[in-house]
């Protein structure tokens, strides 16, 4: 076991230990033990940094360290069952570990301020300790998922995260909406998990092309089987890799809230803001994208990448449209997360898995910043979340404003900021795929560029409405003040990490040639390291050529749409040259109705699917039980019995039973017997047990021992 492997094993262990400490003794510790969770995740961060540095020392795209052991080996069974689990550290997981531990440390730090009231007392009494316990478990599960070298432990961590999201979204349990939201998140992701689990089992148990079962969940074994073409068989007439790949993709659709299972994510805003930051940046939704990045070869072998791309593109566009009309500061960010996740999934579908992973990391950093800034705004405004009641806050909370502004520049795709680099790569790939390669798939680049413009538009709407203009609620405005030290430090750090130079090693992304790289030897380190030589992108030879040709037009277009979005947003909400109401009036009312009702998805799921399909089915079962089983079978037998009884009653009962047996044998004898035997039925458990033991002894002796 190398140092890196041992460190990787420690990383999820620290928060897990903190979880147990917090659950059992958290409320008796000083400060209710928030320092236990914070310290544990910080230790994980130190360990992750060590692995991160080690990755730079190797600086090799093929660097991988694995270690595994046999957990179960039931070789003597008819069908041998052997389960190997272990740890896999490569460039992707090192970067991911670093990002998750960093974000999570900062979110923990932020929570020590946010979860207390303005007098510095824990807001919810003893539940302050539980909050940190859940945060620790959540982080631990995510870290366990990252270091897994197999689908089995990945799935275990995956489900653990589902549980933690349930606990944390419903943290304010006195609110009915929060309780419903947590249930909704849990149930919706469960639908996707069913697909993932079925896919995993098929992968493990189905006989492959060579007649053998794979019998392993390890990525290495899966990749090897794919490369040797073992998945070239059919399941029900479909290509096996396609079926299994799509089933596993279902897990991503649930966890990363892609269409059509996106309904839970906006509702998840009911949780405390640090939880939203954790779910939307470092954990949960990132896990879904991470899963399809790991299973990329399977999706590629099955030829289902285009389906994945369409799901992503569609989610990106429609979530961006929803974000425009939201007024809750956190809901806007929630829909922007949906839309950015759509980008990542789309990029995987385009074969640009490097771009997808880069966007996953950059998005996590600036989205954590955005969420925590919004948390700081909400905290400063005494839990006011409606942006219509805000305004002019930049003078009151300048640090929060600066951080949120930088993160907004990043998400809008302004050059020099991280979002520009990663989004640009995705859009270039979309351009190359949908315009140069396959013009029938023009929807993908169209949705991509439209979403980029819309993102800039609604994010700047948020900034202008919150921080500029006149305050709309003077009472809250007067009371607002800058948040404390432990709350703005995370914002500043994350805002600093939203600079593109950290990801490309160059201020301009290498536009001016090799000369403008700052870190020598680390030019474009991110893309270099993440590129996996064994992943085929599923495109022909012309792809690289097209990607190269797409570079310039793609970048110019993405800059153009972003600047149009920002300018338009300024004209409408900043300078107020264009009336927002007039703009809204341009659209027919059914568009507004659709957006206000979130395209009727909730309505469809609850009113149609659950109430009209599932409920009738269960009531049908209930009626069947009542009418057929109960009234038909049971009561029918009863009627027959009753008729027999009436006849037999007179003859047998009255004469024979009552007269002779009951009064005679049944009267005197049972009375004597009963009063004797009732002492046995004395209701004392231990007497019964004693009788049983005595009987056992008698039997043993009688049978000759």
């Amino acid at each position: 076991m190398t140092t890196n492997i041992s460190l990787a094993l420690l990383i999820p262990l620290f928060p897990l230990l903190a979880y147990f400490v917090q659950v059992f003794v958290g409320k008796r510790l000083p400060r209710m033990g928030d320092w236990v969770s914070l310290g544990a995740i910080f230790l994980s961060f130190v360990a992750a940094s060590r692995i991160f540095l080690s990755m730079f020392n190797h600086f090799d795209p093929a660097w991988v360290e694995t270690w595994h052991f046999t957990w179960f080996d039931l070789a003597s069974l008819k069908t041998p069952f052997k389960l190997e689990i272990g740890v896999r550290i490569d460039n992707m997981s090192s970067i991911m570990l670093f990002m998750v531990t960093l974000c999570s440390t900062l979110i923990h730090l932020f929570s020590t301020g946010y979860m207390r009231n303005h007098h510095g007392e824990p807001e919810d009494g003893y539940r302050y300790a539980s909050f940190f316990a859940y945060l620790s478990l959540f982080t631990s599960a995510m870290l366990g998922l990252i270091i897994s070298d197999n689908l089995f432990t990945l799935f275990m961590s995956w489900e653990l995260m589902g549980l933690c999201s349930y606990l944390l979204i419903g943290f304010y349990r006195h609110k009915i909406s929060a309780a419903n939201a947590s249930l909704k998140a849990f149930m919706t992701t469960r639908v996707g998990d069913m697909g993932l689990f079925t896919g995993m089992l098929m992968l493990f148990t189905l006989p492959l092309a060579n007649g053998q079962v794979l019998g392993s969940f390890r990525f290495d074994d899966i990749y090897a089987a794919i490369q040797s073409g073992q998945f070239n068989f059919t399941i029900g007439g479909f290509h096996a890799a396609a079926v299994i790949g799509l089933l596993i993709f279902c897990g991503t659709v649930g966890k990363s809230a892609q269409f059509p299972l996106q309904v839970w994510l906006p509702d998840a805003m009911e949780g405390p803001t640090p939880v939203s930051a954790l779910i939307h940046a470092a954990t949960m939704v990132a896990a879904g994208v991470y899963l399809i990045l790991r299973m990329f070869p399977l999706l590629e072998a099955g030829g289902v990448l285009t389906i994945v791309a369409y799901v992503g593109a569609f989610t990106a566009l429609f979530a961006a449209i929803l974000a425009i009309k939201q007024n809750d500061i956190k809901k806007i960010l929630a829909y922007s997360t949906l839309s950015q996740l759509g980008y990542m999934v789309m990029a995987v579908g385009l074969g640009a898995y490097q771009a997808s992973f880069m966007h996953l990391i950059t998005h996590a950093l600036f989205k954590a910043c955005l969420f925590m800034s919004s948390g700081a705004v909400i905290y400063a405004m005494h839990h006011e979340q409606d942006i219509r009641h805000m305004g002019g806050l930049r003078k009151k909370i300048p640090i929060t404003f600066a951080c949120m502004f930088i993160a907004t520049l990043a998400i809008s795709g302004v050059p020099m900021f991280s979002g520009f680099v990663s989004k640009d790569k995705i859009l270039v790939a979309a351009y190359a795929f949908g315009i140069l390669d396959h013009s029938q798939h023009f929807f993908i680049p169209l949705a991509g560029f439209l979403t980029a413009g819309l993102t800039a538009f609604y994010m700047f709407r948020l900034i202008f409405k919150t921080f500029f203009g006149e305050p709309h609620d003077h009472h809250h405005y007067e009371e607002a003040h800058e948040v404390s030290f432990n709350m703005f430090v995370p914002l500043v750090v994350l805002a600093g990490l939203s600079l593109s130079v950290l990801f490309t090693g160059s201020l301009t992304g290498g536009l001016l040639g090799e000369g403008d790289f700052i870190f020598k030897g680390a030019n474009n380190w991110f893309e270099t390291l993440v590129t996996n030589a064994s992943f085929s992108t599923g495109h022909g030879e012309a792809w690289h050529e097209h990607l190269h040709h797409a570079h310039m037009p793609g970048m110019i277009l993405s800059l153009l749409v972003a600047s149009i979005g920002i300018t338009f947003s300024y004209l409408v909400f900043g300078a107020k040259k264009i009336s927002a109401d007039k703009l809204a009036g341009l659209w027919p009312s059914f568009v507004h109705k659709a957006i206000d009702n979130l395209y009727f998805f909730d309505w469809f799921y609850i009113k149609i699917l659950i109430q009209k399909v599932f409920m009738p089915f269960s009531s049908f079962c209930a009626v069947f039980d009542d009418k057929v089983i109960d009234q038909g079978a049971v009561d029918g037998v009863k009627n027959v019995t009753q008729a027999t009884k009436d006849v037999a009653g007179i003859l047998i009962d009255d004469v024979l039973i009552d007269g002779l047996l009951v009064d005679g044998v049944g009267g005197a004898m049972p009375l004597a017997l009963g009063s004797t035997l009732r002492t046995l039925q004395n209701g004392r458990v231990q007497r019964y047990l004693l009788v049983a033991v005595a009987a056992l002894v008698v039997v043993l002796i009688w049978r000759g021992f």
């Binding site: 039931l74 035997l677 004395n682 209701g683 231990q686 004693l690 033991v693």
Partner: protein, 110 residues
């Protein structure tokens, strides 16, 4: 490995002692928790038998089976479930009667 550890009856004697202790505890304690602890002992005595037989059989046979280990796993899981249900019952009984003396719960007597 010493001769003692290879002797099946050594395990069986330990298990028998555990079993008897469990029976005695279950019969004589005036505390429901104590009774359940006795039952746990009985279960563990049984599990010990399975594991012991499996261990010695693994050493002896050319192609050992895992039945003993699997059975003891089932026993452990069942014991855990039993403990959970039992504790829930004890808590409910205590909530109603403010006592966990099993003799106090004789409402079903004849």
């Amino acid at each position: 490995m010493s001769g003692l550890a290879n002797n099946l009856s050594f395990y069986l004697v330990v298990s028998a002692i555990m079993f008897v202790f469990g029976i005695v505890a279950a019969l004589s304690r005036k505390n429901m928790i104590g009774i359940f602890m006795g039952v746990e002992l009985i279960l563990n005595a049984a599990a010990l038998n399975f594991v012991a037989v499996k261990l010695l059989q693994t050493k002896a046979a050319a192609s050992p089976t895992q039945d003993g280990a699997i059975f003891s796993l089932f026993i452990i899981v069942m014991a855990a479930i039993e403990a959970a249900v039992a504790l829930a019952i004890v808590l409910r009984v205590f909530g109603v009667k403010r006592s966990i003396d099993p003799d106090g719960m004789a409402r079903l007597r004849g």
